[in-house]
Structure formats: structure tokens, C-alpha cells
């Protein structure tokens, strides 16, 4: 097991490194940063001055090396735009995105797992189909459109929930629904499949034969076994959500990482974009790593492969 963990960790680290190289190149080769930083009313001389000041005249690999040396110590340089440490900005915004991701995931799980269980109890019935339709609808809806509809109906017409900002937990409800719905079908299907497998196992048949109540069998025995792969999947989904929260954060004026990144893209605030991409990638890598460990722990066959 330890050998497996080490191997996986090594892969995770090198993936993180590759991501940093790719995103560095991608962002760096895309336009003249000096002009972007100098702003709309700068003269060419000012642009040149900034180029020297920020070291943008040096070869790319030198700039990358310097950036990486800082990044491993969580020092991402200074934001071109805010003139503040990128790490400060990122740390300031991180909790909002994390909270959003967590609530969105909670919403997805709370919706998807019962749907999956219900679908598995009566497979191929109309109940199964309704459950699947509810879940699949989430995947087909453009999340930004869904977000606007939520604002229109729940925020403006019903006035049940606040529309923008991140002052209280209520502020996170609408964005979390808009973001979390997309993840519902995957979780629902996995729950359903897992439940079907478990329910047809000898072990459950024995429990039923012993005369235990159906609900006890379902929750205590079946779900408990079916849920672990779902947890692994959920971890991965959380990684996706953190990366996909850009539009949602922008619409609901949640000042999180996604919105920071999007604004920074439009301002060519390269150090910030670079840092956010790397941090989100790290989160994803960490979460998949944990999911892998969980799966490996469950299924020793994986460890050998």
C-alpha cells in the first residue's frame, strides 16, 4: 500500500509541474503583457519602462524558473493590477470558492443519492425513469442560464433568497444549486449502479431473509457499501466544480477564485491567472489522489495494476 501511495504521489507531483509549465506557456505566449499592464493611456516609452521593471524582457525560461521557485513557497509574485501579493489575494478569495464548492457538492449529493437509491429499489420502473430524468436535466441545462432563471424566479419574483454577495450562508444557496445540479447525473448513476450491485449480493439477501426491515437493509447495509465509490466520485466532481465556478461566481457577485481568475484574464493580470490555474489544478490532483486511495483501499486489485 505504501509503495502504491508513493507512486501515486510522485505522479501527482509531476502532473502539477507539467500543468504549471503548460499554463505558464499558454498565458505567456498570448500577447504583450507590458502593454496590458501599462494600461490604455500609456505611451510606448512607459510600456518599455514597465517591460524592464517587471522583467518581461528576459527569456521565458528565466521568468518561469523564477516564478516556480516562488510558487513552491506559495509566493506567486505581485498582481500587475492590484499591486498586491498574489498569495494574499488568492487566500482572501479561496474560502468563498471552497464554501461554494462544498455547498454545491452537498446539494448534488443530497439530490442525487436519494434519486439513485429510489431508482435502484425499483429498477426499470417509471420511478427509475423519473429519477433519471431529474438528474439528466441537470446535465443538459447551461448552468449560467439556470443561474439567471434562479435569480429571476427565486430572487426577484419570490424574493426568498438574496441574489448577490457572500455575507451569509443564504447567499450561497442559489449559486450552489446552479453549480451543483450539473454534477447530479454522474453521482446519481453511480449510486444506482452501486445499489443494484449490492442489493443483488448474497449478503443483502441474507439480511432480508433474516427478516430485517427494508429500510434498515437499504440504509444500513446496502447504501453503506454502495456509497464509497460515490464519495470518490464526489471528490473528483468537487475538483471540476471549483474549476467551473467562473460563470456562477460572476453572475452572483461571489468574489471567489473563479471570478478573480476571469477578471484577471480580461486584465491580462498574468500572475493571478497563473496562480489560480495552478491552485485549482493542485486541488483537482489532490482530490483525485484521495479518490484513488479510497478506491485502492476498497479494491486491492487496483494496487497491483
Amino acid at each position: 500500500m505504501i509503495g502504491y501511495i508513493l507512486r501515486r504521489a510522485a505522479v501527482a507531483l509531476s502532473v502539477a509541474f507539467t500543468v504549471s509549465v503548460v499554463s505558464f506557456l499558454l498565458l505567456h505566449l498570448s500577447g504583450d503583457l507590458a502593454v496590458a499592464i501599462a494600461g490604455p493611456e500609456a505611451t510606448p516609452a512607459q510600456v518599455e519602462q514597465i517591460r524592464l521593471e517587471y522583467g518581461l524582457d528576459r527569456p521565458l525560461w528565466v521568468q518561469y524558473g523564477e516564478w516556480l521557485a516562488g510558487a513552491v513557497q506559495f509566493d506567486f509574485g505581485r498582481s500587475f493590477f492590484f499591486r498586491e501579493d498574489v498569495s494574499t489575494l488568492v487566500l482572501d478569495r479561496l474560502p468563498v470558492t471552497m464554501t461554494l464548492g462544498a455547498i454545491a457538492l452537498a446539494f448534488a449529493v443530497v439530490l442525487a443519492v436519494p434519486l439513485g437509491v429510489v431508482a435502484a429499489i425499483r429498477p426499470n420502473s417509471w420511478l427509475d425513469r423519473v429519477a433519471l430524468t431529474i438528474a439528466v436535466a441537470g446535465q443538459a441545462m447551461p448552468s449560467f442560464w439556470f443561474a439567471l432563471v434562479l435569480i429571476l424566479v427565486v430572487g426577484v419574483q419570490l424574493r426568498w433568497l438574496p441574489i448577490s454577495g457572500n455575507d451569509t450562508w443564504q447567499h450561497f444557496v442559489l449559486p450552489a444549486i446552479a453549480l451543483g445540479y450539473y454534477a447530479t447525473p454522474a453521482i446519481m448513476r453511480l449510486t444506482r449502479t452501486g445499489m443494484l450491485d449490492v442489493l443483488s449480493s448474497d449478503y443483502i439477501r441474507t439480511a432480508r431473509a433474516k427478516g430485517l426491515r427494508t429500510s434498515t437493509v437499504l440504509v444500513k447495509h446496502a447504501l453503506r457499501n454502495a456509497i464509497i465509490p460515490v464519495v470518490a466520485l464526489a471528490a473528483v466532481q468537487l475538483g471540476f466544480m471549483l474549476g467551473g465556478s467562473v460563470v456562477i461566481e460572476t453572475i452572483f457577485a461571489l468574489h471567489g477564485l473563479g471570478h478573480l481568475a476571469w477578471e484577471s484574464i480580461s486584465r491580462n493580470d498574468f500572475p493571478v491567472v497563473q496562480a489560480v490555474v495552478l491552485i485549482l489544478a493542485m486541488f483537482y490532483i489532490l482530490l483525485t489522489f484521495l479518490a484513488d486511495l479510497l478506491n485502492a483501499w476498497l479494491d486491492p486489485k487496483i494496487r497491483v495494476a
Binding site: 505522479v11 509531476s14 502532473v15 502539477a16 507539467t18 500543468v19 503548460v22 499554463s23 499558454l26 498565458l27 498570448s30 500577447g31 429498477p123 426499470n124 425513469r129 433519471l132 439528466v136 436535466a137 446535465q139 443538459a140 441545462m141 447551461p142 448552468s143 449560467f144 442560464w145 439567471l148 432563471v149 429571476l152 426577484v156 447525473p185 454522474a186 448513476r189 453511480l190 444506482r192 449502479t193 443494484l196 450491485d197 466520485l233 471549483l242 474549476g243 467551473g244 467562473v246 460563470v247 460572476t250 473563479g258 481568475a261 476571469w262 484574464i265 480580461s266 491580462n268 491567472v273 489560480v276 490555474v277 485549482l280 489544478a281 483537482y284 490532483i285 483525485t288
Partner: protein, 301 residues
């Protein structure tokens, strides 16, 4: 993502039937496939026949006749069934041509990513060993990059256009193809006819093109449908943020973005393209699910 749907499969219970008939029964007995296909065909038809059925030129503007309400509202006219947009262009015609654009982006992006994903997946599955490790590594790296952010960053700097959007999405959405073709290829590689082909000295490209690819088409089709849907949604998101298709091209995502302004007082402006997009993506997903159930009944669970 794991998408294992088990839908009714009565055909299995009737082993006496011939393979063709069994397949037919599976296809027609599959509700999601049927419903999805009918809707998808309808939208495809609309897209292809756009020049014939669109009542107006979708680009013809008349700023003095802007924002005419749709037919079911008080001031609606039959001339503009769904009303006109902010520049006085016929909304229905734009919606019809929009189907063309959205479908084209979905299909081309999915095709572009198919080329990359299948090449990597087949290579990994067929050669195994070191090639496999490298491909897995590339796939993991790609999965770790936040797609939306990367797409935004790239398109934000180059500037959006139809080609840029298709290429960007094509370069980003190949991971699922790679994963699926890799495992499918691994299975086929061990099969007798590949061994036979190798024995009679067929070249590797010939084996891959002649033996492997045709046999892994089914899972590829399933992934392709999912990616078409995915690409359409991502394009919509990009267009929504102003970085997708450029006007006056009427993609549905762009139409939603343009309609946003009117959502509080004329909600139908945003509902029409939103629902259209929803139905299209839903139909594609249903077809994808259906194809999986029909072609690979053994892997349903």
C-alpha cells in the same frame, strides 16, 4: 465520468430471435434512444433546411422594428412569430440558423477531439507499457487543468471566432475518448483476430485501422455524443462571457447572452434559446445513453 445506465432490455429474454431482429427490438424498445433520436433528428432537419424554412434573413437588421413581441403576446404579429431582437432581426430565423451554428460547433469540436483522443487511446491500449504510461500521464495532466479557465484564457487573448472556439474546445475535450478507447483497445488487442492479423504479418497501422478501430466504434460513438453535448454547452458558456462565436452569427449561447438584458421584463427572450439549448443537449445525452445500452448491454452496470 461513470455513466452506467441500465434501462429495460427485454430483448435479452428472447434468445430465439436472430441478431438483427434482436438489435431492432433493442433499439426500438429503448425509450431514451427513441425520444432522443426523434428530437435530435428534428433539430438536425431544422438546421439543414434552415435556408428553406427560415421566414427571414437572420442577419437583416431594421433598427426601427426592434423588440417586436412574439405572437402569443398582445402586439405580436405572424410576420415575426417569435418577435424580433434588439437590432430588429427576426428571432425565429435566428433561432433556426442558430441550430446550425450550435450543432456545427458541437460536431466539429467533438470530431477534432476524437482525432486526438482516439490516437492517444489506441496508441496506449495497443502498445501498452511505456506508451501507455505516457498517455495516462498526458490524460491526467489535461484533466487537472481547469477547462473553463484555460479556454477563457486562450480565447480571451486570441479573440473569439468560430474557428478559435472549435479548435480550443477540440484541443480540450479529448480526455474521455482517450480513456475509453484505451481500455477498449486493450480488450481487442488480446482477441484472436488481432493475433491472427499479426501472425500473417500485417503492418501495425493496418491492424489498427482494419481490426481495432472498427471494433471499438461503439464506445467511441457513445463518448462522441457526450462530447458533442459538452462542446455545445461550453461554447454557450464562452459566448455568454462574450468570448465565443462572434455576432452576427446566431449561436444559441450568444442568443442567451444577448437576451439577458431583457430577462426581467420579457422573459421569453431568454427562455426561447435557453429551452432550445436544453432540449438539444438533453436529446443528445439521451441518444448517447441509448446507444450505450443498445450496443453494449453487457456493460450496463
Amino acid at each position: 465520468m461513470t455513466n452506467a445506465t441500465a434501462l429495460p432490455d427485454k430483448a435479452e429474454a428472447a434468445p430465439a430471435l436472430g441478431a438483427g431482429a434482436r438489435m431492432r427490438r433493442r433499439v426500438f424498445g429503448n425509450h431514451s434512444l427513441m425520444v432522443g433520436s426523434v428530437i435530435l433528428l428534428a433539430i438536425l432537419l431544422v438546421a439543414v433546411l434552415a435556408p428553406l424554412i427560415a421566414p427571414h434573413d437572420p442577419y437583416a437588421q431594421d433598427v426601427s422594428r426592434r423588440l417586436i413581441p412574439p405572437i402569443w403576446q398582445e402586439k405580436g404579429t405572424w410576420e415575426h412569430v417569435l418577435g424580433t431582437d434588439k437590432l430588429g432581426r427576426d428571432y425565429l430565423s435566428r433561432l433556426i440558423y442558430g441550430a446550425q451554428i450550435s450543432l456545427m460547433i458541437g460536431l466539429l469540436a467533438a470530431a477534432a477531439s476524437a482525432v486526438i483522443g482516439i490516437a492517444l487511446g489506441v496508441a496506449a491500449g495497443y502498445f501498452g507499457g511505456r506508451v501507455d504510461s505516457v498517455v495516462s500521464y498526458i490524460v491526467t495532466t489535461r484533466l487537472s487543468m481547469p477547462v473553463v479557465l484555460v479556454a477563457l484564457a486562450v480565447v480571451g487573448v486570441i479573440g473569439g471566432s468560430l474557428t478559435v472556439v472549435i479548435l480550443t474546445l477540440g484541443l480540450l475535450l479529448w480526455d474521455r475518448y482517450a480513456v475509453v478507447t484505451r481500455s477498449a483497445t486493450m480488450q481487442i488487442r488480446e482477441s484472436e483476430y488481432v493475433a491472427a492479423a499479426q501472425a500473417i504479418g500485417c503492418s501495425t497501422p493496418r491492424i489498427i485501422l482494419g481490426e481495432i478501430l472498427p471494433n471499438i466504434m461503439n464506445p467511441i460513438i457513445v463518448v462522441a455524443t457526450l462530447e458533442v453535448a459538452h462542446a455545445i454547452l461550453l461554447e454557450a458558456a464562452l459566448s455568454f462571457l462574450g468570448l465565443g462565436v462572434q455576432p452576427p452569427l446566431p449561436s444559441w449561447g450568444l442568443m442567451i447572452a444577448e437576451a439577458k438584458q431583457y430577462m426581467f421584463f420579457s422573459p421569453w427572450v431568454i427562455m426561447v434559446p435557453g429551452v432550445a439549448l436544453f432540449v438539444l443537449v438533453l436529446a443528445i445525452n439521451l441518444v448517447g445513453d441509448g446507444v450505450r445500452d443498445v450496443t453494449a448491454p453487457e456493460s450496463r452496470n
